[in-house]
């Protein structure tokens, strides 16, 4: 076996490369041992030769075999018998019957309402390129389905970068850790959401690099730092602009860099920064004047600085501008001059953008670009109230929701509306998933999806500069199929194959070889050969490619300069300069008089979104949702540690157990995002409380712009019944 040079395995066993497909910046390379006589995978471990994985996995993927061989897996196609909703019952059917039922409904809906009434809903259940957005898009393009704005995750940060630097990224954290003198982890909990950063941070600190964590919450990541700063949530733009003002006032900015490489520096310095004197920034952020000044001087005292920003900055109503302000700091100090210098949310833009191409997704199969688009963040109101993009009515209404790589019954904001929408009798819902998720309860047809041990795919990493290929290690369990195979079968059933060139006949390996490794269309894969990936499982990106040496060739923006001033944002009626906007339902919203706690719903240490909530060990470690609050907030409400509590606002309620933390800021409550609703005491997760309001730009959800109140509760049974009611 090709991986066998990396690790000895016993006789009768073979070793295989597998890529972790879950939504995480690390994209680890795993070595999987298979018992060749039984065909069963028996061991999983990190690839010791991989520069980021370094031979170990995280607490989630260490239990990957319990995920693969899980009793909650969907192994066969099923049809619902009886009513939709929690507790729905299903019976097994054949693949033929499942495909016929789905495509008969497609044809009926197209005939009665047009193809736009068919709405895909998918996201990052797998980050494999083919399963994420290749074969599915070919199919939807041919069918002419409605488009989906896939913005539920990091889109505010993504567009902040696009409007500032274009599709250009700097060094990753591993590269930065080699030489940086200051690293700021800003709104990121690496220990729980990208643990392979930790040894790099530790090594950097041991050689004298200062590590600063900026996060309103106490975390184990903050324990890694020399200094943990806790600004009030949603105020980071003010902090970044205040830092910039200190730097300019002290002459620590790099005037030469600004003049050579940026646009709008004069407007920033002359008109914007004067609005952010230290006292005002202190009042907004809740930080001490001296701390803001000290942070600015620490950061601006060297060009060997790196900012690893994270999802915490991205989930507020004012996130677009907040992310932009943070991303612009290295432009002010000229840190981009250093190989270790810069700022980024990983390397999102250059990882994803090069794969959105007509040759990959086959735009020519239809006129889908002209079809309507619905934002996945607003799918609840789209289903329940027929409200579409820009508040326009959806006519025709959505008649089919086709779900894969996602669990909409838990993941979207205002999830109560989503669940009510899914209950509509006239909605035909298909769910393709590996596990019996809560969304399955609303499906007419449930289709079995495979796991990463059973399929072929190609992966970039959005945190680090490497690519990897996954190939199947075991036969698919039951009758499960990959996303790509599902859409090939649907294309066959719809009669699309013959009229679509090779769109549906290309194998997964053909797609990798012919498209995804095309170095002319994506310089970062230039030089990576298919055979290299077969042999080694992974390969380093071509980071040093001359076309992406931004200091020399300019940034991929309209004028080649870093856009401190963005015309594109001005055209969207946004402030063209970075700015702090008071957050809707944030720390400065008068609504706090009624709902004094801002709800930060973060990633659990034990799950990756919906995934892994069926793994017994991980579920046992986080068996219930928690509400983390400051001791004073708890005492004021008579709440003791561990108490069952009700978190509520005018939109909804959710139940969990109090965790009293001395280091938690007042005015804030922390909880877990995307907890499986059926595993919470009240039957519905924290997304019952937030809204479908989009971020200032980037079309992203404002999960953290959510004010609530908390009270001790005796019993969630009634609430559970309410949540389950149609």
């Amino acid at each position: 076996m090709t991986a066998s040079h990396k690790l000895e395995v016993p006789p009768g066993h073979s070793l295989h490369h597998v890529v972790c497909p879950h939504d995480c910046p690390d994209t680890c390379s795993m070595l999987v041992t298979r018992d060749d006589s039984s065909g069963r995978a028996v061991a999983v471990q990190g690839d010791p030769t991989h520069p980021i994985t370094r031979g170990y996995l995280c607490n989630k993927v260490n239990h990957y075999l319990d995920y693969v061989y899980n009793e909650r897996r969907v192994l066969y196609p099923h049809r619902r018998v009886g009513p939709k909703g929690p507790g729905a019952r299903f019976e097994r059917i054949s693949w033929d019957e499942a495909l016929t039922t789905v495509t008969d409904n497609f044809r009926r809906i197209i005939a009665e309402h047009g193809s736009e009434a068919i709405q895909p809903f998918n996201f990052s259940g797998t980050l494999g390129q083919i399963g994420y957005w290749v074969m599915d898009n070919r199919f939807w393009n041919k069918l002419g389905a409605a488009r989906l704005e896939m913005s539920i995750c990091i889109h505010a940060a993504f567009w902040a970068c696009m409007h500032t630097y274009g599709s250009a990224n700097g060094p990753d954290l591993a590269m930065a850790s080699e030489d940086a003198e200051v690293i700021i982890l800003w709104g990121v909990n690496s220990v729980s959401t990208g643990v392979h950063a930790v040894p790099f941070l530790r090594a950097a600190r041991e050689r004298g690099c200062r590590i600063v964590v900026i996060d309103p919450r106490p975390t184990r990541t903050a324990w890694l730092a020399d200094w943990h700063l806790q600004p009030r949530p949603g105020t980071d733009a003010a902090l970044a602009l205040g830092m910039m003002k200190v730097l300019v006032d002290r002459g620590l900015h790099d005037q030469d860099f600004l003049e050579r490489h940026t646009r709008g520096w004069r407007e920033l310095i002359e008109t914007r920064l004067p609005e952010y004197p230290l006292e005002r920034v202190a009042a907004i952020t809740g930080l001490a004047v001296e701390d803001i000044e000290r942070l600015a001087l620490l950061y601006g005292g060297t060009q060997k600085s790196y900012i690893r920003a994270g999802h915490g900055l991205n989930r507020h109503h004012n996130s677009g501008q907040m992310c932009r302000a943070v991303l612009l700091l290295p432009a002010l100090t000229g840190a981009w001059r250093e190989a270790c210098g810069g700022a980024g949310f990983g390397r999102l833009e250059e990882n994803w953008n090069p794969f959105f191409r007509p040759d990959v997704q086959r735009d020519e199969l239809g006129d889908r670009a002209a079809k309507r688009i619905v934002n996945m963040v607003q799918m609840g109101r789209a289903l329940l109230h027929d409200i579409g993009w820009n508040e326009e009515p959806l006519d025709p209404p959505i008649k089919c929701l086709f779900v894969y790589n996602a669990d909409p019954a838990n993941c979207v904001p205002n999830v109560a509306d989503m669940r009510r929408g899914l209950m509509r009798d006239d909605l035909f819902t298909v769910v393709h998933d590996t596990m019996w998720t809560d969304s399955c309860d609303y499906a007419d047809i449930v289709l079995p999806a495979d796991t990463q041990l059973e399929r072929t795919d190609f992966h970039g990493s959005y945190g680090y500069y490497h690519y990897a290929m996954n190939r199947p290690v075991i036969a698919p369990l039951g009758e499960s199929v990959s996303n790509a195979e599902l859409f090939r079968r649907l294309a066959q059933s719809m009669g699309y194959v013959e009229s679509s060139g090779d769109a549906f006949t290309q194998s997964d390996e053909d797609i990798i070889r012919e498209h995804l490794l095309d170095g002319e269309k994506n310089v970062l894969v230039d030089g990576i050969r298919f055979e290299d990936l077969v042999e080694n499982g992974w390969a380093r990106a071509n980071y040093a490619h001359p076309a992406r040496q931004w200091l020399e060739v300019g940034w991929p923006t309209p004028d080649g300069r870093i856009q401190i001033w963005s015309d594109a944002l001005a055209a969207e009626d946004q402030d063209p300069l970075p700015v702090h906007h008071v957050e809707m339902e944030g720390q400065e919203d008068p609504l706090r008089a009624r709902f004094p706690l801002q709800v930060l719903s973060n990633a659990s240490h034990y799950f990756v979104g919906d995934s892994f909530q069926t793994v017994e060990r991980l579920q046992a470690m986080q068996s219930r949702p928690t509400f983390e609050i400051n001791p004073d907030e708890a005492a004021r409400r008579g709440i003791a540690d561990g108490d069952l509590c009700r978190l509520y606002n005018d939109r909804g309620e959710t139940f969990g157990h109090a965790v009293i933390l001395a280091a938690m800021l007042p005015g804030v409550v922390g909880t877990q995002k995307q907890f499986k609703g059926s595993n919470t005491p009240g039957g519905i997760n924290v997304n019952a409380l937030n809204t479908e309001v989009l971020t200032d730009f980037g079309f992203a959800p404002s999960f953290y712009s959510c004010l609530a109140e908390i009270e001790k509760s005796d019993d969630a049974t009634a609430a559970r019944a309410r949540a389950a009611a149609p």
Binding site: Y56, V198, P199, P218, R220, A620, M621, H657
Partner: protein, 362 residues
């Protein structure tokens, strides 16, 4: 730049995990009056257990309260599939000895966990000196088998110290291994008896094996001492004495490999909760139940130290802010597997036990 990095595994990272499984006693053979060789076969369906010569496993026999550690007595790579051989010294009052005395035990099921330990052949090129005493012979045999399998082109001296001729069991096998040694190198074997009656037929060397090492081996002008490596396996006094002799002769201390089994008298490792990232790597190498446990915090002793971990309540766990990993010194078998497995340097016997968690500030 090259797209593919050179594949050069970092030797400091762990490359195989500890496996716990059940095994059946397949064969039993008496080697001497007080030494038994057991061959165990893993039950079908149990995960593969791949050790290296020099490593050890722990066995838990039915009814015994705690596991006992035994080195792999044969090169694991040359065992029949699923089989593992161990040599057990019968000692009066010993728990495993008592169990073995209770019947032939063929067909009975024991628990097996391994591989453990980092003892093994090194990658140097200099001469090899093996000093084995008592039960240390079995692991030495495994090392020699591995060296022959790999055809290591290094001169070797193998010394087996025992009390009397009745304690020897490996002579023929050692001679066979020496005969199969790399043809470009020499392998000399000597058995040295300390308490053999003067009037016996024993024609070989007599005295302490460590004296023989000093007087007859290290004085050999053909042996490049400065470049040599040594493997010391046996009773602690023998290891200590051999270590002294080798150092005095100029063998580099870093090349003296000592197969020392830690016991409860050495300090148990401690997980530094501030360094731990809860990645579970250590939990996956637990050789026994309960050596590392999850806790929801610490009970604080009168002096401010750790009185003990608070147990997690199933169904009422609360994730990151509650969970900490704690090593129970009573159940820890000092195998160091967790220390070696931790990618974050969070486990060490030298770390202080602290009550601090995210919920319990210092």
């Amino acid at each position: 730049m090259s797209a593919v990095a050179g594949v050069s595994p970092d030797p400091s990272v762990r490359t195989s995990r500890v496996v716990r499984c059940q095994a059946r006693v397949l064969r039993r053979r008496s080697l001497t009056h007080d030494t038994v060789e057991l061959v165990l076969g893993r039950l079908p369906g149990s995960p593969p257990l791949l050790g290296r010569a020099g490593q050890f496993a722990v066995l838990t026999a039915p009814g015994l309260d705690r596991p006992r550690a035994y080195s792999f007595a044969r090169d694991p790579a040359q065992e029949a599939p699923g089989e593992h051989t161990f040599v057990i010294r019968l000692v009066p009052g010993g728990a495993m000895s008592g169990w073995l005395a209770g019947g032939d035990r063929i067909g009975e099921i024991v628990e097996l966990a391994g591989p453990l330990g980092r003892f093994g052949l090194d990658d140097h090129a200099g001469a090899m000196i093996f000093v084995a005493g008592g039960s240390g012979m079995s692991v030495t045999r495994a090392l020699l088998q591995a060296a022959v399998r790999r055809q290591v082109p290094r001169d070797a001296v193998v010394l087996h110290g025992a009390r009397t001729a009745a304690d020897l069991y490996a002579g023929a096998e050692l001679a066979q291994l020496a005969a199969g040694w790399h043809p470009g190198a020499r392998c000399a074997v000597a058995e040295v008896l300390s308490d053999e009656p003067d009037d016996s037929a024993w024609a070989g060397p007599r005295g302490l094996v460590t004296d023989y090492l000093r007087d007859a081996v290290l004085t050999d002008l053909h042996l490049n001492i400065a470049n040599a490596s040594a493997w010391l396996c046996g009773p602690a006094p023998m290891i200590a004495a051999a270590d002294t002799v080798l150092r005095a002769a100029g063998v580099a201390p870093s090349r003296i490999h000592r197969d020392v089994f830690e016991d409860a008298s050495s300090p148990a490792p401690v997980i530094d909760n501030r360094r731990c990232v809860l990645c579970d790597e250590c939990l996956l190498v637990r050789p026994v139940d309960g050596c590392i446990v999850e806790s929801s915090g610490f009970e604080v002793a009168v002096d401010g130290g750790v009185a003990g971990p608070c147990a997690l309540v199933p169904g009422a766990t609360s994730g990151l802010y509650y969970n900490s990993l704690v090593i129970d010194p009573e159940r820890c078998i000092r195998c160091s597997a967790c220390i070696n497995a931790c990618p974050h340097g969070a486990i060490d016997p030298g770390y202080p036990r602290r009550t601090e968690t995210l919920r319990q500030p210092a």
